[in-house]
Amino acid sequence: MSFLQIKQISHYYFSRTNYTKALDNVSLSVDEGSFVSFLGPSGCGKTTLLSIVAGIIRPTHGSITLQQQDLLENDNEIGYMLQQDYLFPWRTILENTLIGPKIKQTQSSSTVERAKNMLIEMGLENVLNSYPSSLSGGMRQRAALVRTLLTDPSLLLLDEPFSALDFQTKLKLEDLVSTLLKKYNKTSILVTHDIGEAIAMSDKIYLMKANPGEIHQQFEVPIEVRNLTPFEARKHVKYQNLFDRIWEELNSLESRSAIR
């Protein structure tokens, strides 16, 4: 049995005048300790799918099991990092990272210690008591990552966590996140627009198409590329090959939807 199973998920957004079919019959499974990416054009339902897995919205149809249990019964296992950092501006960095334990009412002096250590590990030792507004985008994103990891989730959901960053910061953060997740043996799902990022970081890539959101195709990342850090992976010849294949597939998707 797989770690996470998504079974025939469909989701509609209803409004007064209209409805959108955001996801249509999406099924997939994710193995423990693996890193999976969702790639696809804007509006293909990636954020919707992550929000469903995170238990924030309830799917119209379908079910999800995490470690053979229905999702609704153990949603505490999941860490969700949104498209932007969404640090609370009225809390210091340290207080921001402690929000998870506070909500779950498991805060103790040892969690505070752990938060401090993780922030130091991320190179944020000088800003523990600063407010988010005084930090750069990359620092804020790292603080948000600490906030997500602090509750020790067994499944990590990352919604384009690097999209708002400059290229250099992004590459550095990819390496940091990748090594960190390997170290703690986390299962992770990443949503991204960036083909290169998907290949460099994942074991498996799902390509999605829009209207309605469906899984179009899946790609296995070659084992040689998987074992490299994201930065090194980008230089590998097999990375290039896969990049070209996905690129072509995305283009053909686009032209097909243009004809329709």
Binding site: S51, A54, G55, I56, D75, N76, I78, G79, Y80, L82, Q83, Q84, Y86, F88, P89, W90, I99, G100, K102, I103, K104, T151
Partner: protein, 269 residues
Amino acid sequence: MNQDQQSDNALFKDHLKRLKSDRRNTIYWQLFIFVVFIILWETTSRLGWIDPLIFSSPYKVSTLLFSNLIDGSLWFHLRITLFETVAGFLVGTVSGIVLAFLLWYSRKFSDVLDPYLVVLNALPKVALGPIIIVALGPGYTSIIMMGAIISFIITALVVYGAFREVDPNYLKVLESFGATKWQCFREAVFPASFPAMISTFKVNVGLSWVGVIVGEFLVASKGLGYLIVYGFQVFNFTLVLYSLLVIAFFAAVMYQAVEKLEKKIIKKN
């Protein structure tokens, strides 16, 4: 390089100096207008160009102010009105925020209440005065209620609007940790709406004065609003103007206090 910096510093100092003299100039003008106004008032009143019976004169008003200050009657009436206003302000603001919370908490509740809120908000609240006084009896309670009810609905609507405008992604973050609705409110919605709440405070201070003075017009036998009505009835407009000045002064003081509080809180965030 060093010289450059020196001349830059000198430039900056010049700028500061100019700012300061600008400010002083403004203050001079403000004082000038005040003095001219008082002199004009006094002379025109003495010369009978304006009816001294209606417009009194600065001399008479300040004499009255002085004697009332000494015999304690200023403090006596002021104390009552201030208490009613502060209490009305607190009751109106706090209950408005509580209603805003309930509206935010239950979508159904706010949908159902919507037309009633629209009507109540459009209604001139002071028109409820007679009903309040009959229901609660003539006294502090109904005057405080007048001060409160005038800001209650508008506070609820404005603050509810602010609650709804909080970025839903903050709530998503909290929900991903399994937060309850109350936790979402406490950790995100309330603190994020703080600036909006403070700006309703500023409006409400003024509104509470209106409610309390009207309430005192209707029933009171003490307080600044009562003095105005009494002065009007016995045609003592020196008393009316004196009460008006005291009200204007303390309303401004309260407004300033809330503004100070706002600056302090905003700076902290």
